[in-house]
Symmetry: C2
Subunit: 331 residues, 2 copies
């Protein structure tokens, strides 16, 4: 079912696992980045409705190490809340879930194996723990966030690809003024019993179903580079154009235009997984939805989130924009 | 849609909020009771398949105050796992969610009010925190538990009553060998925008849809009494018969048979909410599904969970059994 645009989605934001967790420290959140993301999302959402800088926290639960009694503003009724319209958040797993999934081979399927079944349970515990913390961080910034697990939504895969899935609960949550927060999850797979449904695949699926105006991927690097970003020679790809047939080319920097063919055949490893990233993003951009890949918690990510890149992209913006070009001669 | 009995549900277990949390201490789990419940569920599930007492833990996440690295059995593949067939767990909120919901009036609806919207978010954070802890406690006992939030399942209410809801994701989880763990939740309501969907209502709805063999309510008292259980004169109702027209009568103790009319008109308060409890249970029993209300973590609850009460109820069993009688002259 297509979204009837009763409350059109403005943006789908992907919080990369590497952006909000320390990838090499088991189940450790990058609290600073998560707070920066939450704050920027609040700024973005509030700019649409009110300039009041006051934050009305929506996490009234206890927090380890903090006061027993969560404070709830007694004068709540008079305070504005952020305009929650039109954002959907999806986050990756980072150092949550990865250990459990890889230890047990959930991705490869086979629930009949005790370790796979146990790993499925363990993976879901880990990723839902992270989801809860992301929801809480957003709620503390006054964002009416609502955790929604793909497994609970009844989503599943077939041969590891997203099967046709009901998105009406996501739409209903948005229509009610909430910000759904989904996540990469362990799910059932009709061909191999189970697998991992990644946050990136969820973003692509939701983009196709919900037709947001734009999609933002928040990562731990500035964007997509022509080689692993740790390489001192690595160059940031600033603008990528996607043709209607799904092929893509680099528009900026112009110096890289000639090396396009290299990307289309490069293996994932040699580019730090970034070719995959472009291909995934291109599948969204081909729908006419602008995609921005940008470093979390920067001025650049704020510009991407608030939609101000939708026209011309400023010269000083750091990040990768992937957009459809309708004239195949434009490159 | 009716369950096709590909993997019939043996039992729906309700973990009462008062049974697994300290009701008067904000967001405080009764760890001992929760562990007892988990252990009894493991015993019940394992008795169906294997007598191996070894517990294969499925929570591989960090726990506050414990070692950084969760231990995962390296010899996992050789170990039996519990037979997970046919149980569904639903838990209440207890001291989770109640504060947030009552402070904001989520139950009364009206998402347009800032405090209701914030309270909705805060309530979901609190109840999903509890859900995560229940799932983890079960997983540590080797039960392949899977948290499923009613909101994420897309469930909603109309005039506070459960609206027609898709249960296929619950059935799929059971068919895949998992134990779904649902909970009372804040949900959208088509007549008043939002409300609280209680665990008891979920149990009743799932019982009608999934047709389990029996339903067990685990509480913090021995069962249903004829007056508040704190009253020293309170008598435990041991067997209640439900007629096909929905009316019910006390079979045991026989001395209470004559006082039945009092229950049908008694207000909730004067009986500590227990008349409501019987009426709810009677609506399940009328479907031919035995209902047991029993104190958590006792030998009596173990008997109820493992289904051994389904024939004649032992004289020394402490609890309340509510069952349909097909002969209206039996009382």
């Amino acid at each position: 079912m297509e979204h009837q645009n009763s409350n059109p989605i403005r943006c789908i934001v992907k919080l990369g696992g590497a952006a909000i967790t320390f990838k090499n420290e088991l189940e450790t959140i990058d609290e600073e980045n998560l707070m920066l993301v939450s704050s920027q999302l609040r700024q973005t959402l509030m700019s649409a409705s009110s300039a009041c800088p006051r934050v009305v926290g929506m996490d009234w639960s206890k927090r380890p190490g903090l006061s027993e009694h969560p404070s709830v503003d007694s004068n709540f009724g008079d305070q504005p809340v952020v305009d929650s319209k039109s954002f959907v958040v999806v986050h990756g797993a980072g150092s949550f879930g990865h250990f459990q999934a890889s230890k047990s081979g959930v991705q490869k399927g086979g629930l009949g194996k005790p370790i796979v079944k146990a790993g499925f349970v363990a993976t879901r515990i880990s990723v839902t723990s992270l989801n809860l913390e992301v929801v809480r961080a957003l709620a503390r910034e006054g964002i009416p966030s609502i955790g929604m697990s793909p497994f609970s939504c009844g989503w599943s895969t077939c041969q590891r690809n997203m099967a046709e899935a009901e998105v009406s609960m996501v739409i209903k949550a948005v229509d009610a003024g909430f910000i759904p927060v989904l996540h990469g999850d362990a799910v059932l797979d009709s061909s191999q019993e189970c697998t991992i449904l990644s946050g990136d695949v969820i973003v692509r699926y939701l983009a196709a179903k919900l037709k947001p105006e734009y999609v933002v991927f928040l990562t731990d690097v500035n964007g997509v580079y022509d080689r692993p970003p740790t390489d001192p020679e690595a160059k940031l790809l600033r603008e990528i154009a996607v043709r209607e047939d799904g092929s893509w080319c680099v528009l900026k920097p112009a110096s890289l235009r000639t090396s396009i063919p290299e990307f289309t055949v490069a293996s994932h490893d040699t580019t730090g997984g970034m070719v995959t990233k472009i291909s995934e993003a291109a599948m969204i951009a081909i729908l006419g939805i602008d995609v921005y890949i940008v470093k979390v918690g920067t001025d650049h990510s704020l510009q991407a989130l608030d939609g101000s890149l939708r026209g011309k992209i400023p010269e000083d913006w750091l990040g990768t924009a992937i957009r459809r070009i309708d004239d195949p001669k434009a490159d």
